[in-house]
Amino acid sequence: MELLKKKRNDVEGLIFINLVRFLFYILLAVLIFLLFKIFIEGIGVISFEFLFDSPRNNMTEGGIGPAIFGTIAVTFIMILFAVPLGVFSAIYLNEYAKDTFLTRIIRTSVNNLAGVPSIVFGLFGLGFFILFVGKNLDEVLGTGLLFGQPALLWASATLAVLVLPVVIVSTLEALNSVPKTHRDASYGLGATKWQTIKNVVLPQARPGILTGTILAISRGAGETAPILFLGAAFFLPNLPLVDLCIGDYCITIINPAEQFMYLAYHIFILATQSANPTKTLPIQYGSTLVLIALTFLLNITAIIFRYRFRKILGRV
């Protein structure tokens, strides 16, 4: 009886529950307001021309075409580096390697690497890729100063190292969630290790691996700090493309030795270092809207994949 009475008079509880609720709604309201603000201010400049044109007139007019192209080019090369390496090494760690002290150290370092500040990866990119690998390549190949300077290739490689832990961790998680009984059943049918991985483990883990890959792309496309000194450029008149010719047959490819424009960097530079930040404010909001739309699209896809993945696993 006394307890029931206490329950009814739980004023403290009433206050705190509502406080928690109130704080959450404030948070949600602020976040929605932020998105709304970017949308309202940015949607005015969005047009076909804005998305595909080059900046004109000292960046105060024109579009963000080259910046979008650069973002796609850099993330594309980044995926080529990071995803195969990340997925394959996760398969090795989870399926082949025995649980030794060494593999545990690798797992811990991979986990912790995901939390290392991105600017530190920028330092690594500069010290390792440009000043060590690039300079030595130039010396060996006798190319003068081709590789030993900031370029698209090194920015992509650095971002690849940055997202590598993301890919490895999510692939490990996906592989780990495949029940051991399924592997045992496969072995019981006489399948070899590779047959088991190929036919039993990977098909089940695929949505999880895809989620990690998409999250990695979204992270790479949004990063600014590490590429600040790895070849992102304020303005370039031409796209970083080159004609690769074998005999008479020519194809246009991304030129990895070129500098590039980058959407996230473009926003930073317009907001802080352009000649007239107030005049370019609509363009800044427009670019921000495009970047947010891009990352949200990727993240929502990843979330949907993960949701379905967990649902499937729940049924197993």
Binding site: N111, L113, S118, I119, V120, G122, Q195, N199, N299
Partner: protein, 329 residues
Amino acid sequence: MITEELNTIKIDKVKESSFAKKIKKSTRVKEKTIHYFFALNGVMALIFIILIFIFLFKEGLSALEHIGLLDFIYFDRVQSDGSVERLYQWYPTSEEARYSLIPLIAGTLLTAVPATLISTIFGVAAGIYLSEIANPKLKEFLKPAIELFAGIPTVVIGFIMLAAGATFFDDLLNPANRLNAFIASIGLSFIIIPVIASLTEDALHSIPNELRMASYGLGATRWQTVRYVILPAAFSGVSASIILGFGRAIGETMIVLMASGNAANITTNIFNSVRTMTATIAAEMGEVSHGSDHYFALFFIGIVLFTITFILNLIAEIIINKMRKKNIF
């Protein structure tokens, strides 16, 4: 496919055992090759991890040969009358270069600590709301929505604080500098709240339902259950989320670069401009000549950052691992 291969092996065994062995050998070779292929990838990933350590520490520690550990703390300027003035300043490009990290560390703390405090209040509240109060159907939509905000590029938050936030707080609070540590810590909160909220929700959610039921059975209200049962049980998980959030606040670059004002002051006034370690690297690395003292000093800041965040992450991971073991009854 498996059964097909099984059948062929079986039939072959019956027909001609030597042929069966042949297939087996080729399969064995294939298996071994694939094994080595994956191992090679694992080794390559490991090499990259080791390379990060080596290159960072190689460049960073050679700073100590050029500059010296004490010079990273203070600079003694000899006055004309022979007395010594001790300066804690970061002026790497001045004629008598001063490399004291004290203002940068102070700036980092003055942005990261308030940001962590704000984020703890909102993040833990959001975690409690999602796990214990919200309708489960609503939660399924709200949690991904909160996590979505963790994926906002930081340059976007920096831009918003610069373009809109600074003006808003300038009118509201009339701070000493228009861009200051307070603006930066508000910006940082936007990315740290989702981290803390999501991990807190995980920690609360992993508490077995029996504990809740037992508490309700004893007549406790919902708040009493949260306050005296759930939160104490999930304490380690919640604190791990706060540590991870603090680590991110220290390591975040773009928001502080754009919103903190970037003046290397030693101050305790949150409305002053400050300069963080990350912003210093970002702002100065592009213009520094490679191999100069300044260049090595920036790498030294890099290893300081690396070490701090690595240790914070390690602590959080140990706490989370312990929690996982404890929760499996």
